[in-house]
Symmetry: C3
Subunit: 151 residues, 3 copies
């Protein structure tokens, strides 16, 4: 009932007043323009859920293929905590990872996670890189002007 | 037992030593000051969970109403992946979205998601905008100096 | 079947072509370099799940202890929405929070959440700070050049 009243109130306010600048801007809006010559983005993954992992890898590919960014975006993926699952040799992500790496994506794993969990590096794909900590990587990259994304 | 020992250890260290600079800073701290004349923030949503959607919309409103930012913050919401649910005509978010749009919030949907999932745009609210990809939007906005937030 | 075909395709493309620049870069990559003298990072927490809370607090400690950042990173944790659980006196996080605070971490709670939920501040740890809104804090900090992280 409270929600219904709120909805009616919001609709009334909306239709009773002249739409603000956002309305006209809205209809024309087709997304931000990529005016720079180069973009950098760090994706971070700390979840073992295959749906989340698949989604993150697909998101990276979507960024690489965005018409606004195509050919001018550099991407790094850093996994930490439960996210190490993406690099597990027994997992299903090898082909997708290799395809992303071929497109220039840096595939990095948090070394802290490996040590804390006593993970044998031989159980992870041999084509990945290690960084001291995933969290340090996020902080340094953002300070360098990289976008950071956590889907 | 290990946790208990760690707790005792941490408490001992804490009470045995003179509190560091953070302690005094802490008591005075009332939040960062908004010294700039204008702020920009991009919220992204990739989850269909109504609780997550409601929370994200409430977060946007809280940012708009923060005494430090009131009247000087510009916000965009971009939905992708499962987050498209927020714009579904059969969903419960129309009034809240319109109220946010009236406050100037740009409501954007990832076009990639629409194409990949063969979503009929007629099933989404007519008052939203489309961007080539949600992930591209995040990367470009962050490079432009927008804060990006993923509740 | 489709996945298998895709995997075969990706592998074929990979082994058939000369590895791009990323391959050689990859083997040498040891993580971003911390060339600045000072770093700042804001962690935000909006979840009551003890696993998520514990992970966030551990992530903060990992960032503080990263060999690249040790002694030159300033960190703030801001809790909002369900994340207020981290500061609940009846919860198990007091020792860990005090240990982080001793290392200089600012512990902040969204005042909006407290008001919206009619939370008695006496039920939260006395050593925390309050900010007008968690979302405002994120936006202002990012505009000031702080990295923001949501594990």
């Amino acid at each position: 009932m409270k929600n219904l009243l709120f909805s009616l109130f919001a609709l009334t306010v909306f239709f009773a007043s002249k739409p603000a600048f956002a309305q006209s801007a809205q209809s024309d809006f087709k997304g931000a323009e990529a005016t720079k010559s180069h973009y950098k983005a760090l994706y971070y993954l700390d979840d073992a859920d295959p749906k989340k992992i698949k989604g993150t890898l697909r998101n990276i590919d979507n960024a690489l293929e965005d018409v606004r960014l195509k050919g001018k975006v550099e991407i790094e993926l850093v996994a930490f905590s439960d996210g190490v699952a993406v690099y597990d040799k027994s997992g299903p992500f090898e082909a997708t990872l290799l395809a992303l790496q071929k497109k220039g994506v840096i595939l990095a794993q948090c070394n802290n996670t490996v040590m804390e969990r006593h993970i044998d590096k031989a159980s992870l794909f041999p084509f990945i890189s290690y960084v001291p900590s995933g969290n340090g990587e996020i902080i340094i990259r953002q300070a360098e002007g990289w976008a950071t994304i956590h889907p």
